[in-house]
């Protein structure tokens, strides 16, 4: 998939500063990142690293930055349907049924097209029989699958996932990781996922991007070439995970030293 080698997302010299109460905090400092079309990329790092900020800037939800972001050759200006976003919370509208929620981004399409697309994506995420249910009748994992369907239904050029499985329990989480991989293989959409779960990142990604803290910088990009479906107990898997965790701990130590 990654050998097609077409650039999907290109970020150059991205810097973002938040101004709060006369205090300027640099959230992202000179971030460069190049993601190929169809790749699955994870961004990992300790909390407060600017991972989510980076994702929100790509999504067009955060403005006032310097640097360039190009999605398949076009500069990113504001949010748009070609950049799907799945948030940590499912953000389904509670007054719409699952079916209506999944079709939320298709209001401008004719109703037959809308219906067939919604049906197709409900089947893809395994929620066809819950089409008429309301979000509060669904479990956390099911709601998040509906949210994924909602952002895929527009066939976005890129899907941005902000800790999409963060709120789920360990078992559901592993199951959802498999689901996510299945969806990605089937849709071949470029996906960028923010997570703090190193194992999840290695399990799913073609490339893991490790960010350092304060200011947020890209510290390392690690290509993962293990064959899919991956085994979590594969020696190489374990080795990569250990190396990444070591980096993490190193970072944490710096962080705490700095604080003290």
């Amino acid at each position: 998939m990654s050998n097609t080698s077409i650039v999907g997302l290109e970020i150059q010299g991205l810097t973002k500063t938040f101004n709060t109460n006369k205090l300027a905090v640099t959230a992202l400092d000179n971030v460069d990142l190049r993601i190929q079309k169809g790749q699955f990329v994870s961004i990992v790092g300790a909390s407060g690293c600017g991972k989510t900020t980076l994702l929100r800037i790509i999504a067009g939800l955060e403005g006032e930055f310097t640097g360039n972001i190009d999605l398949e050759g076009d500069p990113v200006k504001g949010p748009s349907a070609e950049k799907g976003v799945v948030f940590q919370e499912h953000r389904l509208l509670p007054w719409l049924t699952i079916e209506e929620n999944v079709g939320f981004g298709l209001v401008y399409r004719p109703s037959e097209e809308r219906k067939s697309l919604v049906d197709r994506y409900l089947r893809l995420v395994g929620l066809a029989q819950f089409a008429k249910a309301y979000p509060n009748q669904l479990s956390g994992g099911m709601a998040q699958r509906a949210a994924i369907a909602r952002s895929l239904v527009n066939r976005p050029k890129i899907l941005l996932l902000d800790e999409p499985l963060g709120a789920l329990d360990a078992m559901t989480r592993m199951y959802m990781q498999n689901e996510l991989e299945k969806i990605w293989l089937e849709e071949q959409t470029t996906m960028v996922m923010v997570t703090h779960d190193v194992e999840e990142a290695i399990y799913l990604s073609d490339v893991v991007v490790l960010m350092s803290c304060r200011p947020g910088r890209v510290k390392q990009t690690i290509p993962i070439t293990l064959p899919r479906p991956r085994r979590r107990d594969h020696p190489e898997f374990v080795a990569i995970k250990q190396a990444l965790l070591d980096e993490f701990h190193l970072q944490a130590k710096e962080y705490f030293n700095y604080e003290i």
Partner: protein, 294 residues
């Protein structure tokens, strides 16, 4: 509820359904049975709790007048009140007075609610509109509806228009304030989702903001409806020669205690009925909202 009472209703429903099946076919029959089961059986059992206290009050009232604890001039018997109601209805044109009050209330409520909604949505969507309207509306709000009566009467007379204006004013504020608050309470998270899907302002309003604010808007509408009914009675008591409020004053002056009771029961009953209807509409629109149900 004991088992026999329930099983007494159920076969009856079954019988009706069977009869319908003969006439109209099985689909209609099963639909009717389901309807009757949900609305009669479960509804009836639930509603029984709410009738306990009214029945107790009625029983106390009946025994108080039957046993001559109180003079009829202060507390007429329930039966004489029912008779007076029949007289008023068939001989004294009670319906005319009722209609006069009801029409004014509906008109005043609609005007107040529409303006309240428009102003609330306007102020909710734009800080500038809120700053523009805020000070003036807040000062007008501090003056109670009845305090406007002398001025309104001076300007437009004592007719239905004066009462309509007062009711409109009374309804406007709860609707306006609750709409504004409802819109301000709409989660930014949902607005972001709509932005991602490139919703324009109108679509955002229709699909996200209004539905999210609806529970709050309904609080305003229900409260406003109660106020409208209360204000019309008060306004009619203070002036005019028609309407339930006028009848109330007249019965007091002529010491027609039975009529007083009739009108009070009607006022209470109508207010109650309006709230039931609004609550049912609300329940239908807000099916998705399942809160703490006790």
């Amino acid at each position: 509820m004991s088992a026999e009472q329930v099983s007494g209703v159920k076969p009856a429903i079954f019988q009706v359904a069977k009869a319908v099946e003969k006439v109209a076919g099985s689909r209609e029959a099963s639909r009717l049975r389901r309807w009757m089961e949900t609305y009669l059986l479960s509804g009836w059992r639930g509603r029984l709790t709410g009738t306990i206290l009214p029945v107790l009050v009625l029983a106390t009232w009946a025994s108080a007048s039957a046993l001559h604890w109180v003079k009829p001039i202060f507390l007429p018997s329930p039966w004489s009140v029912v008779q007076t109601f029949r007289e008023m209805l068939f001989e004294e044109g009670l319906l005319t007075d009722f209609r006069v009050s009801a029409v004014i209330v509906i008109e005043g409520f609609l005007i107040g609610a529409v303006f309240g909604l428009l102003a609330g949505v306007g102020a909710g969507l734009s800080k500038t509109v809120e700053r523009l309207l805020g000070p003036l509306l807040n000062s007008i709000r501090q003056v109670p509806p009845l305090a406007w009566l002398p001025l309104i009467v001076l300007w437009v007379g004592i007719g239905p228009l004066a009462k309509g204006v007062m009711i409109g004013k009374a309804v406007f504020f709860p609707v306006f304030l609750n709409t504004l608050q409802g819109i301000r309470g709409v989660s930014k998270d949902f607005v972001e989702v709509a932005r991602i899907f490139e919703y324009n302002q109108i679509l955002l309003l229709r699909k996200v903001v209004i539905p999210a604010a609806l529970p709050s808007i309904f609080v305003g509408l229900r409260y406003g409806a109660g106020l409208a009914w209360a204000v019309v009675i008060a306004a009619e008591m203070l002036g005019g020669k028609l309407g339930l409020g006028y009848l109330l004053v007249r019965s007091q002056e002529l010491l027609l205690t039975q009529q007083l009771f009739v009108i009070i029961v009607i006022i209470g009953g109508v207010g109650f009925a309006v709230d039931v209807v609004l609550r049912r509409v609300e329940g239908n629109l807000l099916r998705w909202k399942k809160g703490f149900e006790g």
